[in-house]
Amino acid sequence: MQEFDKYIKDNLYNHESPVPAGLWERIVSEKDKKKPTPLPFWKNGYFQSTILAIITVGIIGSAYFYTNKPTGENAIHIKEVSPLIKIAILNKNATYNSKGVIINTKENKSNFTTIDSRIIDSKTNIIHSVCMHKSNTQETNFRKYNAATTAHNGYAPLLVNNFFEVSQSDELNNVNIQKDNGRLLNESENENQKFESGSIVLKSWNLPIDSYVTKTLNDNKNIITTITLPNYTTKNWFVELYASPEYNSKKVGISSSNYFYTQSLDSAQKLSAGFTVGIRIARNLTNHLLLKSGIQFNQTNERFRYKQFDTKNSTVVTERSYINNDGATISIKDTSTFIQTGYRLMTSYNTYKSIEIPVIASWEAGNNKWHFAANGGIIANIASFYEGKTFDNNLNTAPLSAKEQNGILKSAINLSLYGGVSFLYDIGNSFDAFAEPYCKYGLSNSSNTSFGFGQHFNSLGINFGIRYKIPRSSIKL
């Protein structure tokens, strides 16, 4: 029976029957029912790893700064570091050495008549308060000068940076108390500001300065000392310039109704490195908290590979020769054609360009040289421009431009979560250099909802930049 069986098998094993129309569509819909739904973003490993990394770096950074604080006398300054204040009280009738120490005084120590008291913020180099008073117990004339005004009239140059370097003569010559600019206080006005001899009250904080000093006025009249004022916030403005390389990824949410389209789109696209450049303005709200905003340009690059299916018709001519009964050689040509089905592999390098507004809150701490900050906020994408190719609904290639493609991608506002840490180093002259690793997690769907799928852009990057502290012209007390 082997021959019979073989005959049946040879004829039927590869036999083909007509396939009913519409069967492929039925298979497609049946397959789609069994596809798993994508994980929510908080279960995404990429998201979880990023959050974990930020928390870890934050804990390590905070621990570093808090466990490395100095001890002893200076500890107060470091712990409550903002701002470091120097107080200099100059006696107009005294003679100073190059260190600012009084080497001679014409006045009785306990009864000096005029004291020029200056409270200098060593960070901002701005005079905060100037008091002049007679401590003679027989007199109660108090004179108080507006610090801001005074700062513009000769004191600041004298005291900024090189207070200890100036010569005696320079110092004294430059002491030019402008009574007209100041405010002469009479006794009645200063009912609450009557000072004991040798003590100073800072009007801003209404506490004896002794509450803040770590060194008080001494008997040698070496009255240059350092104090720390807790709960004092210097409101500063900063400008930050930065640029960052970025690693980007894109998550395409697959909908069951449009499975093949989104799946094809996802598999054809691969994001590559991008970059961000920008400028931010920062303002500190407290000693540790800063609010930042600005504008930045972001470019995301993408490689889009797709297969352009095609058929190729080939013609084969076979020529055979044989000798007939008459001995003549006969040539026979047999022409056949066959169709090869294949595809052309096409690659398009797409670019996604965006103008973005960052709004970031930053918690910052550190010492005079190093600062550490944890940042969080949102990035609003206010305009986008696309170049390249993508699939349209029929899986044909189409230009990526939103207008030309009837809006597969939105050019409207998209939001991203922003999180990261910063390491700042004081490089002098009001400049800090910083490095800021960050991640951006796309919250908004950047595709048009009518296409039945969502796509979110996520990024990892590190900003390298410079921060400049804008100088302050005056402080009102």
């Binding site: 049946i8 039927l12 298979i27 595809y343 052309r344 096409m346």
Partner: protein
């Protein structure tokens, strides 16, 4: 933006890889390439074309969903064909097919000369096979066309191997008788 063009032909490996990656184009190509053959398989096991269509649909869904398990060992077509046949058997088992002897059928072998059946077309053979009783037809298909042994068939159908053997012999004899009848009519 630059575009790189290169012409490729789809190898079987690329076809499989594309399907594993859920590429709709390659899935469609796979379907187009094998749907006719597998439709023929399903028709040989089904009671009608509607059931064959359902079998083929489920067969392809299973192929696409399990393609990642294919280890690129052995024939890819054989791997898919086995899935399709298993789907067909699942449908058959739902019908609780009885493998009974048909009255009047002898289990003795009948020798038939090749010239008698040599002129039959594929469609003729299919028609003849489809006229066999269900039990005969399924065992005949599994053993003669698909190449399964009686032991394998016994496991697949949940019957004894001896039952499979006797069903095959009877199927073959009934088929040959039908062929002889056809030849007589033709003469």
């Amino acid at each position: 933006m630059s575009i790189v063009k290169q012409l490729y032909l789809l190898s079987e490996h690329e076809l499989i890889k594309g399907c594993i990656e859920q590429n709709p184009h390659t899935q469609r190509m796979l379907f187009e390439q094998y749907a006719g053959k597998f439709m023929s398989v399903c028709l040989r096991y089904s009671i009608d074309s509607m059931e064959a269509e359902d079998m083929l649909q489920e067969g392809f869904v299973r192929i696409f969903n399990n393609l990642h398990q294919f280890k690129f060992e052995g024939s890819f077509e054989g791997w898919m064909r086995r899935i399709v046949v298993n789907v067909c058997l699942k449908y058959i088992q739902k019908r609780k097919l009885p493998f009974k002897d048909i009255d009047g059928e002898s289990a003795s072998e009948l020798h038939i000369q090749p010239y008698i059946y040599g002129n039959l077309s594929e469609d003729d053979l299919l028609k003849l096979i489809s006229n066999l009783p269900d039990g005969y037809r399924i065992v005949f298909n599994l053993n003669v066309i698909e190449g399964y042994s009686h032991e394998e068939i016994a496991v697949m159908l949940g019957i004894e191997a001896s039952t499979s053997r006797s069903q095959l012999v009877k199927a073959r004899r009934m088929l040959q008788n039908q062929i002889i009848k056809l030849e007589k009519i033709a003469v």
